[in-house]
């Protein structure tokens, strides 16, 4: 039985996302999909496959590799791209590597700035992409709530929250000047729960890190940090303990904290979310720097 006949809410959200993807593909010359390996990217990739079926999605996937992604994420990424039959471009900021930038040595701010924001700008310039899809949702964070679905970026990839175009009905103004580009967010109106319901309904594979499992963790500043490899230096008073944990959001591994959970299936995650009392980005250490930190990053070109 097709779930779309029961769940009108999700059916509308899927249709809206397809509409947005098609509009961007029809109006721009060089589209690309930012693929972050997380659950939102996985949902967005499935929607793209459905939007252009029977043709394959007419754009490549782009992953900005900070070199600090969990090992399971990289394995999953390569598999997912191969299964979708899409070209995967991986970009690493070699300059950042040469400078020895890492989340541990440089701190989360500088690491994010160099290995994510700058790396993204490099990759978009190199591919001469005029439109990039991202899986960001408006319910994630306060400045995201004000982002347009079609969001104009300057030649330097900056976002100017005061110069956003009004977005009326479902008519998107896609016109840009040479060197400007557009970021497009097909999942703008989705919530975290919607994404998991879609993953369930469409039986979409996600990185196993989302599911609860016994993992080696240390407690640091009240957060649970998973010891993914031996690059994480332990502090003198720390000894890894084994705990049943999972991730609600996936980023670079020392910068993303796990939560204690027993949810080891998609159904269990959905049930857990319905009773959740903390927000999704709670696990992101980079957002703690300042309340307005996301807006700042976006002005500089972060996704």
């Amino acid at each position: 039985m097709n779930w779309r006949l029961q769940n009108t809410g999700l059916r509308r959200l899927e249709a809206e996302a397809i509409h947005i993807l098609r509009e961007a593909v029809a109006e721009f010359a060089r589209p690309v999909m930012l693929y972050s390996i997380g659950k939102d990217s996985s949902a967005m990739l499935r929607i793209a496959q459905r939007a252009f079926y029977p043709a394959p999605p007419p754009f490549p996937l782009l992953h900005i590799d900070t070199t600090w992604k969990f090992r399971e994420m990289i394995a999953f990424r390569d598999h997912a791209a191969a299964r979708a039959g899409m070209e995967l471009r991986v970009h690493i900021n070699d300059d950042g590597i040469a400078r020895g930038i890492s989340p541990i040595a440089s701190g989360s701010n500088l690491h994010t700035q160099v290995m994510k924001t700058e790396a993204l700008r490099q990759a978009l310039d190199k591919g001469r992409f005029d439109v990039a899809f991202g899986g960001a949702r408006r319910d994630e964070e306060a400045s995201r709530a004000k982002e347009r679905i079609f969001s104009l970026r300057s030649a330097q990839h900056g976002w100017d929250p005061r110069r956003q175009r009004p977005e009326l009905w479902r008519i998107f103004n896609t016109r840009i000047k040479p060197d400007e580009s557009m970021r497009v967010f097909p999942l703008s109106n989705w919530t975290e729960l919607d994404v998991w319901q879609y993953i369930k309904a469409e039986n979409i594979a996600v990185v196993p890190l989302y599911f609860a499992k016994e993992r080696a963790v240390v407690r640091r500043d009240g957060r649970l940090i998973v010891c993914d490899d031996d690059r994480l230096p332990l502090l003198p008073n720390e000894t890894p303990a084994t705990m049943r944990v999972r991730f609600r959001t996936l980023g670079c591994y020392p910068l993303t904290a796990a939560i204690v959970s027993t949810a080891d299936t998609v159904d269990a995650i959905i049930a857990e979310l319905r009773g959740a009392t903390t927000s999704e980005r709670r696990g992101r250490l980079i957002d703690d720097d300042e309340t307005v930190s996301m807006e700042k990053k976006k002005r500089e070109g972060y996704f």
């Binding site: 009108t8 496959q49 459905r50 929250p161 009004p166």
Partner: protein
């Protein structure tokens, strides 16, 4: 509620599409506070955000140390610092009965355009009024905008009722006041609620402090509101968005149904071509489906081998949309640069983008009183009714009957800004009745007698740049070569054809438009038309280029520095303008937008006029104007 009950109940919310509503009202009436309260009451403010909120309430809050729910929504740094909402914020929450998408629209007058944005995507408006202040000009303004944008259900939330001692008379007076005003706005349902967003009275639960109020709390109303605009019951419409052609055997028309239903076998018409067709298959992703309905994004294949493209409208064969290149429409102006009738804009409508002009601005609507005011232009946040003219016929329905196919935006051609929201009222009949007369003698045949090609030499530049001097020299030289010429300049046009026009921006736009049309007729007669006009705006010069045949329009920028023009001041006008005696004088009180890529740029401050005229003649030779 225990988890099991919550889960069962959520199934009800899933089965209906989310209700999209906006909150509006004047600054400080408590819009953000209300949404914050709704989120809080649904336990949707996560613990970590609650902690951040408590921290921020002390830093930025306006509630004297109490939790300031507005800070949940005002996410931009400038908003927190100034304590106001600048931009539309979108919020999401669910109750067991329904999911909601809330657009929080700013109250300040200068952000009215954001409210228009929010209203365009909303089914219902929650209009807040401060119980102490009653219905204000902003309340009226927002009600009118909601009505213009087609919202038919309004919840009037009389907020801060705690600050008037929960007084029934105050509430009833405000509700009666609003009903008296909104009677003519076409709302289907208006309902009042006495609430305190800050303390939660009658927001999610009934208030014990107002025993006189027996109605439901606001949330109940939102959960139950029947705003289904019956899109699915309207005639089938789908504008083609993208053509899916993976191989030669399949040609899929991808798009979103804006109204109605479609099944394989249905007879449809494709507009503007008017070809008839039959739906063969309908797919969403890799599933072929038996029926698609309004809101679905599908890929259709037709039984016939027909070439449909992006922007074509598929419609029910027996219930067609209108097709016209001229129509009457409501506009809300969103840009800081005003609307000028006659200026060329881009219109995006039903997946087509095409050139459009406002051919006649009929009147401006006073948003506070609904009065019709005479107007020559529209400024930011103003609304009006106009006739629009577009480059070719497009398919649409009246906005009153179909909010999706009757809506459009206007885009500025230079800066790409979205400058207006438009709602079509009806097609202008004359569009179908003026049939172009095809002359027996063609333009090419007239031109052949002349032994040279027609052209418009458009001299633009600051007052005193030397445009007329140059144009006269060039004309004399052309005349000597036997070229048929005519010279249009301020002296012969302003005193005749355009003597009714002044020097305001809208009049300058109309001035240039008429000259362009006159020049076009003269090129039709085979003449070389020399035009010497300041023509300060890029948009009008671009319009001229589009009005005429591209290679016949030669833009010549007489580039004399402002300081040099002021020094020359042949008519003494700069002196008077600088003394404040002439308003709207280009170069002093009004900007001159220099051409970015003219066909010819003459450095008139440095070379003498005869040499410059020679360069114009050389350019015309290079272009082969004089023929064989």
């Amino acid at each position: 509620m225990d988890t099991a009950t919550a889960r069962d109940a959520l199934a009800e919310a899933d089965s209906r599409p989310a209700l999209r509503f906006l909150t509006c009202g004047a600054v400080d009436d408590g819009k953000s506070t209300l949404i914050g309260r709704l989120l809080h009451d649904q336990n949707l403010v996560a613990d970590d955000r609650q902690a951040a909120l408590a921290r921020d309430s002390i830093k930025y809050g306006t509630t004297g140390g109490d939790i300031d729910y507005a800070l949940l929504l005002d996410g931009l740094e400038a908003e927190r610092a100034q304590g106001i909402t600048i931009d539309v914020a979108w919020r999401y929450f669910s109750t067991p009965r329904r999911s909601f998408v809330v657009a929080d629209a700013p109250g300040h007058e200068q952000y009215t355009r954001n409210m228009v944005t929010a209203a365009s995507n909303a089914d219902l408006a929650v209009l807040l009024v401060d119980a102490r202040k009653g219905v204000s000009p902003q309340t009226r303004r927002h009600a009118i905008i909601a009505s213009l944008l087609g919202i038919r259900t309004v919840a009037l939330a009389v907020n801060k009722i705690d600050l008037v001692e929960f007084d029934r008379d105050v509430f009833e007076r405000i509700a009666a006041d609003f009903l008296g005003f909104s009677g003519g706005l076409g709302f289907r349902q208006v309902r009042g609620f006495p609430i305190s967003a800050r303390y939660g009275d009658n927001v999610s639960t009934p208030s014990a402090r107002m025993p006189w109020y027996s109605g439901p709390p606001l949330l109940d109303f939102l959960e139950m509101a029947d705003v289904d605009d019956a899109r699915a019951a309207k005639p089938f419409r789908m504008a083609v968005q993208w053509v899916n052609r993976p191989h030669t055997d399949f040609r899929g028309l991808a798009g979103t149904l804006t109204s109605g239903r479609a099944r394989p076998g249905d007879k449809i018409v494709i507009l503007p071509s008017g070809q008839n067709a039959t739906i063969k298959t309908i797919a969403t992703g890799d599933d072929d489906i038996a029926e698609a309905m309004a809101g679905d994004a599908v890929t259709m294949a037709l039984a016939e081998d027909i070439d449909a493209a992006r922007g074509d409208m598929l419609a029910a064969a027996n219930d067609r949309p209108q097709l016209a290149d001229q129509f009457a429409a409501h506009l809300v102006w969103l840009s800081d640069t005003p609307l000028y009738p006659g200026r060329s804009y881009l219109m995006k409508i039903n997946n087509v983008t095409l050139a459009a002009t406002v051919s006649d601005l009929k009147y401006r609507i006073d948003i506070d009183s609904l009065a019709k005011l005479a107007a020559k232009s529209l400024s930011v946040n103003e609304a009006g009714v106009c006739n629009m003219s577009v480059a070719r016929a497009v398919a649409f329905d009246a906005y009153a009957g179909n909010r999706e196919t009757g809506a459009f935006i206007l885009i500025d051609r230079g800066g790409n800004e979205t400058v207006a929201a438009g709602m079509i009222d009806y097609a202008l009949r004359r569009a179908g009745n003026i049939h172009r007369h095809h002359p027996t003698v063609s333009k090419a045949e007239r031109s052949a007698l002349m032994r040279h090609r027609p052209a418009v030499l458009w001299f633009t530049g600051l007052p005193g740049a030397g445009k007329s001097t140059l144009a006269n020299l060039v004309e004399a030289s052309l005349h000597a070569r036997g070229v048929h010429t005519v010279l249009l300049d301020g002296d012969n046009v302003r005193h005749g054809l355009n003597r009714d026009l002044g020097f305001t921006e809208p009049d300058r736009v109309e001035n240039i438009r008429r000259i362009g049309e006159a020049a076009k007729l003269m090129t039709g007669a085979g003449l070389v038309v020399l035009c010497s006009f300041i023509s300060p705006f890029r948009a009008e010069r671009r319009m001229l280029r589009e009005l005429l045949v591209d290679e016949e329009f030669i833009e010549i920028f007489v580039d004399t520095p402002l300081a040099e023009c002021i020094r020359r001041d042949p008519k003494g006008l700069y002196k008077r303008a600088l003394a404040g005696e002439i308003a709207n004088f280009t170069g002093v009180g009004q900007p001159y937008e220099a051409p970015e890529s003219p066909d010819l740029r003459l450095p008139a401050g440095r070379e003498d006029a005869v040499a410059l005229a020679g360069r114009v003649i050389a350019e015309l030779e290079r272009r082969g104007l004089f023929g064989a």
